[in-house]
Amino acid sequence: MWRRSGLTLIVVWLLGVPAGVRQRPPTIAAAANLNFALTEIVRQFERDRGTRVDMVFGASGTLTRQIRDGAPFEMFLAADEDFPAQLTSAGLTRDAGAVYAIGRLALFAPTGSPLIVDERLDGLSRLVQAAGVTRFAIANPDVAPYGRAAEATLRKRGLWDAIRSRLVLGDSITQAAQFATTGNAIGGLIAYSLVKEPALANKGTYALIPQADHPPLRQRMVLLKQATPIVEQFYAYIQGSAARAVLVKNGYEVP
């Protein structure tokens, strides 16, 4: 008797989601650097409006590719302006969108690493010269704007050629942060917005990279053609004071 009702329960639970047929909440795609900040903003929005919004995080380049291949996202928050512009010129967006945040880069060293962090990368230079760099983490510059900014910073300090063979490339800035914080690398250049999160900040030391050391990480968002009214509201919400406060708290500058 009990066994049968247990089995029935499992069957009902399985049948409860004929995945793909069921109505899904609207889904927005966001650059990985927003992992903590956007989650907080979306939770606020959901509480305010009594609705649900799903988020998918990834490298801006990866998400752009997915959108071009038909992924059902309704909004895209990128880590730069180039990837959204590609979608706009492909005719997939409502309009050119808006810049919602300006991101910053940080040099991070996990506890116990020989790397001493400073904003001019002097500690990293010394370690490179002493051949003390085993692995250094950045995001893949081809798909992640934060990886591009990291490359520009390393080039500016004349470290790029020397450190190149020592780089581990994350698929996204969060994966680079994984590499940098778990002690698998001596450190990495990762998003300031991730470093500020206690889950990471407690794992090592960091220094904020001056904005002049790389092209600015102007982060643009766009509504995609299939955006529904809830997502349109969310697009406006991001530009409101509550969301801007969260962005600032997470280390972004807001326009």
Binding site: G16, A19, D54, S172
Partner: protein, 222 residues
């Protein structure tokens, strides 16, 4: 624990079995009892997903069915959504990836049926359909069962092609294996750990079931 992802994984495993095993029975039997020109090539093609990197399958599926291809656009017009980044797309990818896991055990199962048994059945006046249902199927059954369980286990473990073709959509294409990756990226090691342990337990139980069943079935075959 991400229940929605577990559900997607179990659905995908069950769906792949439902789509693939009937086809596998038909095709595995064909390969077992027929000789034809080009059989070597066909058998190689059936086995190829076993050695192919998931990225190759993902690449071809996205190029063929993506929103930028004519086929993809036609599908979009008919179904109202694109095939990649949907559960159906994931099912297609999973079915292709599992072809060797289904066809090979079933082929071996039907090969184990002696040809004189089939001939005797035909002599007794059984129709081909009766012959299949009452003589061959009961004898080849262990192969079909192995194929189903392998498919289920392999589908739960699929990662690369799911991420490429499915794109991590919560409740639709975010399987348990992708959810673990997603949680790791969000520095949520606790959830990732729970889900990894769940997947480990499911896999071990599945394989134990296979072994137990094959032991129980094996003597009756001899």
């Amino acid at each position: 624990m991400d229940w929605a992802s577990l559900r997607v994984s179990l659905w995908l495993g069950a769906g792949t079995i439902a789509v693939l095993v009937p086809l596998g029975v038909w095709f595995g039997r064909l390969l077992a009892i027929r000789e034809f020109r080009g059989k070597l090539l066909v058998e190689a093609l059936v086995t190829v997903p076993l050695v192919l990197p998931p990225t190759v399958l993902g690449f071809y599926l996205l190029v063929t069915f993506g929103a930028r291809s004519p086929i993809g656009q036609a599908f979009q017009a008919l179904a109202g959504h694109s095939l990649p980044f949907s559960f159906q797309g994931l099912l297609l990818a999973s079915a292709i990836a599992n072809i060797p896991f289904v066809v090979q055990p079933i082929q071996r199962g039907f090969e184990a049926v002696p040809s004189d048994v089939r001939e005797a059945a035909a002599c007794c006046g059984l129709t081909p359909w009766q012959q299949f249902l009452h003589i061959e199927m009961p004898l080849a059954w262990p192969g079909v069962l192995t194929a189903s369980i392998l498919t289920f286990a392999h589908t739960l473990g699929e990662f690369g092609v799911v991420l490429m073709v499915g794109g991590n959509l919560p409740g639709e294409t975010r399987t348990l294996s992708v959810a673990i990756y997603d949680r790791m990226q969000a520095f949520d090691d606790r959830s990732a750990g729970i889900m990894a342990a769940t997947l480990l337990v499911i896999s071990v139980v599945t394989l134990m079931t296979t072994t137990a069943l094959s032991r129980r079935i094996a003597p009756s075959r001899g």
